[in-house]
């Protein structure tokens, strides 16, 4: 059983929804990332999403774009991202880590070389924004070889046929993009999210996480009501940007934001 499956099974038992924070590796400073990952776990994160910076992040809004630019400007490359995961694993062998990014850095490294290195570093899942399942055979095969889950996206526009096909290939969890837009946009209404999750659940027993557009405790709590996991990205990255020149405050204020959202989700859980 993978770390991701174990973690979701444990959450299921305790009737808790997963909170999945996203930060870009190396943003705003390389030395901030690993301690921040630990602090977010302490603040209530269940799974960690670590952004692999890319020069042309087409699916991201301006907030995460700028995070990528900050990281790249400081020399963050895929090797260093994997190094951060390895360092994180020295103290935490339980919390799943999912890389989120674009295909080209993996292509440049070579799928097999990447898969071996990622597996050795302790990566549990890879979510690749510009890799639909139709093009994913070779990459998924490389990930399979080292037991890493390919995480696939489903969007509001995904047809029923595609939902079935994607669910058939998905592992770990299914990531539902809650809106038509880039990361950091306004959230869609909760009823349409709930309806799509019902549709997805008809095709898979995997947990369904929801991301894009969740900006505070209240919206996280609403999403937690209808899904298995809540992904928060842009609001954290926004906070990191604000604190870029006050790195000492990052370890206080960013985990506090995670804890605040955790509390709102848990309060909602008690009401259900």
């Amino acid at each position: 059983m993978s770390r991701i499956s174990r973690r979701f099974a444990a959450l299921e038992k305790s009737k808790r929804r997963a909170l999945i924070p996203f930060v870009t590796a190396g943003d705003p400073r390389p030395e901030v990332t690993v301690p921040l990952l630990h602090e977010m776990v302490a603040a209530g994160a269940d799974v960690l999403e670590l952004g692999v910076p890319f020069s042309d992040p087409m699916a991201d809004g301006p907030v995460i774009q700028r995070a990528s630019e900050r990281a790249l400007a400081q020399g963050i490359c895929l090797h260093r991202v994997l190094g951060m995961v390895k360092e994180f694993r020295e103290q935490d062998d339980e919390t799943p880590v999912v890389l989120m990014g674009y295909l080209n850095p993996y292509e440049a490294m070579g799928y097999d070389v990447f898969a071996q290195a990622a597996g050795a570093a302790g990566v549990d899942g890879v979510l690749t924004v510009d890799l639909p399942p139709e093009e994913a055979d070779e990459f998924v095969c490389a990930l399979d070889g080292v037991g890493i889950d390919p995480i696939f996206l489903i969007a509001p526009t995904t047809t029923t046929q595609r939902v079935a096909a994607i669910c058939a290939r998905a592992r770990g969890f299914v990531y539902y993009v809650s809106l038509k837009g880039v990361t950091g946009s306004q959230m869609a209404d909760i009823d349409s999210i709930a309806a799509k999750i019902t549709e997805i659940k008809a095709h898979t027993r995997l947990p369904v996480g929801v991301g894009f557009g969740i900006r505070d405790g209240a919206s996280a709590a609403r999403v937690a009501r209808v899904s298995d996991a809540v992904v928060i990205g842009s609001i954290l990255v926004q906070k990191l940007e604000e604190l870029a020149h006050h790195p000492a405050e990052i370890s206080v204020k960013v985990p506090a934001l995670v804890a605040e959202i955790r509390a709102a989700m848990d309060a909602e859980g008690e009401r259900i």
Partner: protein, 406 residues
Amino acid sequence: MNTSKHKSIIGSQPDSRGHFGPYGGIFASETLMAALEELQEAYERYLQDPDFIAELDDDLRHYVGRPSPLYFAQRWSESLGGASLYLKREDLNHTGAHKINNTVGQALLAKRMGKRRIIAETGAGQHGVATATVAARLGLECVVYMGVEDIQRQAINVYRMKLLGAQVVAVESGSKTLKDALNEAMRDWVTHVDDTFYIIGTVAGPHPYPAMVRDFQAIIGREARAQILDQASRLPDALVACVGGGSNAMGLFYPFLDDMEVALHGVEGGGEGLETGHHAAPLCMGRVGVLHGNRTYLMENDDGQINATHSISAGLDYPGVGPEHAWLKDSGRAAYHAVTDDEALRAFHELTRIEGIMPALESSHAIAYGAKIARKMTPDNIVIVNLSGRGDKDIHTVAEIEGMTL
């Protein structure tokens, strides 16, 4: 030469998912997949629809001004003392470049698909102008994304787009050029996917764009082939076209792919020289990767991050290239070369002074390479150079380089 191999391989491209050999494909956000399928379905349907084809043909004739002439550049040919050079005069199209062949086609498609809003990316501004033009004519809302770097060097085209009623959005992210404009247009499309048609200007992007843009541009090659047979009673020895994303080249080459006796030469922006690293020549110097929806040759670093490119011409300043060109390169059917900024600039002046035709700086790369190979040939040899656009838009750039203030 074994011609049957190329015929069977090249004629069947792309496959149903947009692959040209190992290149192309659909590497797009899940949110766009339904829209891409809808577009592919509509495109394949209307391509077979006599009513659509008739409307397109009529627009190309009466609105664009086709057929464009195939002009024998006698003085230029004689001055080089080599092959007979013919110019395919895409510069004489409405809006001054080949770009409108494609925007007319895609806009008619948008109209039939019931889309009310058009978006586009542009580098030199020619595609943006061609898009704003057809949007104005069809009464569609139009938003054009353009890097701030390009906005500065193509101010005239920016103003043209505004006059045509388009909203020009300045893109500040990344290298602030064409690739970033494309990223931003993709972000817009993801956000407004229901009512918006994205008119991509080149033979790149996710399937079906590379094949669709090629098919709309192939009128260039179909005409040129008939015209040279009419004027010289034979096929040319070589075709030459500049390659940024590669739409004018693909449009010229495509109807000649099975004519194995015709050599195909694509010319990339060599910038300050391939050895300097400051260029825009992914086919000459790049490696294979995935960007903007397709797998192709890219200018990238060892980490797979896309490099900033450099070319004197904004239209060639792009780190990728259409996947069919990547395939033609690997299969050996076409050859790709680079011409530097300086060589292109000299060709710009040469053609202007000898023939009274001012080429766009993009096209000047093809002119320079055409002259280079023509010199090694004799007047019995025929070379067709695609004069993809006119140079009026570039006179500020040229003047500035030469220290003049207009």
